[in-house]
């Protein structure tokens, strides 16, 4: 067991370093620097002073090692756009809206999706089945910013029930949360439906019926338990993906979350913020997949109790 965990941790570190190198090189090779005359009319001398102060005049690899050294000590540097705080403080502040809206989106979307998927699997070819399939297809095919646009047009522009944008009092949260909830709901609806159908066609379900178990017991005690395993392993990566904010939803609804900061950090070439954002999310994805595999191994007795067949 430890051997496996150790191997996975090694691959997480390897990925972290690989991503950091790739991103660092890409970032710095984007033409133009953070303090170009185009953005800020600065005299040559003043610009050199700032570059020196942020260490941007040094050679690329030295900058990289200095940066990584800082990362080891949890010092992600100072964001250029708001020098008053450290990158970590900014991220802490910026993550709240993404976490709240994205998080709630998943926590609302996923259960509805599971419910829809279950009913669709049990009431095959009924109205609910077609409705669930339609919802899941729509959710997965329409890009999120298109969906947000339609939400705004419908609820803000024409029906005028909800404010179109902004972050603040909860009334403004409703539309973004619906936008966030679309993909988790659609994914889980389709996922639950196909995994339940798969289990329902398995031979052991017929044996359960032959034993005289009621249909209800079979569904809730056996079928759900079996189809839960794949669903659990999908949840964490999806949660991370949504709770770190989506660039589109935050752009459409003017939410000052991680996505918004990322877009602005690219335009202003705010290297420390950009690096920190990308690395943080990448590491979180790594751990998400790792914990998902672990959960799968623990939940599935075939792997947990991996012993030879008893003669």
């Amino acid at each position: 067991m430890i051997f496996y965990i150790f191997r996975r941790l090694l691959s997480v570190i390897f990925t972290f370093i690989a991503v950091s190198i790739i991103v660092f090189i890409m970032m710095h090779s984007i033409p133009g620097g953070p303090f170009d005359p185009v953005d800020m009319p600065l005299s040559k001398a003043a610009k050199d002073l700032i570059m020196k102060q942020y260490g941007l005049d040094q050679q690329l690899h030295i900058q990289y090692f200095k940066y990584m050294w800082g990362v080891l000590h949890f010092d992600f540097g100072i964001p250029y756009q708001s020098p008053g705080e450290t990158v970590l403080e900014l991220l802490g502040r910026a993550w709240v809206p993404s976490l709240v809206l994205g998080g709630l989106g998943v926590l609302i979307g996923a259960p509805i999706g599971i419910l829809l998927g279950m009913v669709a699997a049990l009431r095959r070819n009924s109205f609910v089945d077609y409705f669930a399939s339609a919802i899941s297809t729509l959710g997965l095919t329409i890009p999120v910013f298109v969906f947000s646009m339609l939400l705004i047009l419908l609820f803000s522009v024409w029906l005028n029930w909800l404010p179109a944008s902004g972050w603040g009092e909860p009334r403004k949260w409703i539309l973004p949360i619906i936008a966030y909830a679309a993909i988790p709901m659609a994914t889980y609806a389709r996922y639950t439906r196909s995994s339940m159908l798969d289990i329902l066609n398995k031979p052991f379900v017929m044996v359960l019926r032959a034993k005289g178990l009621s249909e209800k017991t079979i569904i809730f005690r056996h079928v759900l338990r079996n189809s839960a395993i794949p669903m659990v392993t999908v949840f964490l990566p999806m949660f991370i993906g949504t709770a770190t904010g989506s660039i589109f939803v935050e752009a459409m609804f003017r939410v000052p979350g991680l996505g918004a900061y990322f877009v602005s950090s690219i335009h202003t070439k705010d290297y420390p913020l950009e690096m920190a954002l990308l690395l943080m999310i990448t590491v979180m994805f790594c751990f998400a997949y790792f914990l998902a595999d672990l959960a799968y191994a623990i939940l599935n007795p075939r792997i947990r109790l991996n012993s030879k067949r008893e003669e």
Partner: protein
């Protein structure tokens, strides 16, 4: 009193457009304590007949109609759901072909047997657990206390099949239906399982329906034999009749085509397509 009586059972499947008649007006009766063998090639409808008896065919496009369909006195034609729950697992229970896929992989063997007992008898969990340990003993599984907590993937095919038999007998059913119980097992294990089923049948004075394609299994375990082909019954007589002087040509052909009966390398009897067409159309 007949434990099973079926009259003119017809089963048809709707497969994209055309109708497939899997079972064509089958009638049979089985008295208490009697063991009946159903033999036939794959596709002869032998399994479908009894799966439909216990309502285990749940595909939407199947049509089942019969004049009479009764198990242990329970009429399964009228309000099937309620009556079926009385029959399944209590009056009649089933043992299936592939033990490896007949258990829920996420629950231990013990749990799945206790679950069956608790469905039909309202006794507390502790007694149900002890009962299931005894059941495992009854089906000759060594150190049942340990095996009861094993998961299906930890047991061999033979052991799992014994556990399935134990599970089927957990509520003292009057009828045991075994659908090709030993086909997926090795020859030596098959002989042990067949002997076990035979002993348990006599011990509990249970009626047995043994569905198989292997005439050897028939010769070893049952008293009466029904030969099925193309969804119809070709012959229905006691086991000695079938082997000593089979009267339907299909039964004769089945017996003659079994290899290894006489010493020395020899060719076996083959069935021609024209013979098959004539039997299919016959009754």
């Amino acid at each position: 009193m007949n434990i099973v009586s079926i009259k003119n059972l017809n089963i048809t499947f709707k497969q994209h457009g055309n109708l497939v008649h899997a079972v064509r007006n089958i009638s049979l009766d089985l008295s208490e304590g009697e063991s009946l063998g159903i033999v036939g090639e794959s596709g002869s409808g032998k399994s479908v007949t009894f799966l439909s008896l216990l309502g285990l065919i749940n595909s939407p496009n199947v049509i089942i109609n019969a004049d009479k369909l009764e198990i242990g006195g329970v009429d399964l034609l009228i309000n099937k759901k309620k009556h079926l729950s009385k029959v399944r697992g209590k009056i009649a229970s089933m043992v299936f072909q592939d033990p490896m896929t007949s258990f829920d992989p996420l629950f231990s063997i013990g749990y799945q047997i206790v679950e069956t007992i608790l469905t039909h008898k309202n006794i507390n969990k502790k007694d149900a657990f002890n009962e299931s340990v005894n059941l495992l003993k009854k089906v000759e599984i060594q150190n049942p206390e340990k095996v009861i907590n094993y998961y299906p993937h930890q047991l061999s095919g033979g052991m799992l099949q014994r556990a399935m038999i134990a599970m089927a007998l957990s509520c003292e059913p009057k009828l045991l239906i075994a659908d090709e119980p030993t086909t997926a097992l090795d020859v030596t294990v098959q002989a042990q399982i067949l002997q076990l089923i035979k002993d348990l049948q006599i011990e509990n004075n249970m009626s047995l329906i043994m569905i198989t394609h292997d005439l050897g299994v028939i010769a070893e375990t049952v008293d009466r034999v029904i030969v099925m082909y193309g969804g119809q019954i070709m012959e229905n007589s006691n086991v000695y009749e079938i082997f000593d002087n089979p009267n339907h040509p299909y039964t004769k052909a089945l017996i003659d085509s079994i290899p290894g009966q006489k010493p020395g390398k020899r060719k076996l009897k083959e069935i021609t397509q024209s013979e098959r067409d004539s039997w299919y159309a016959s009754n």
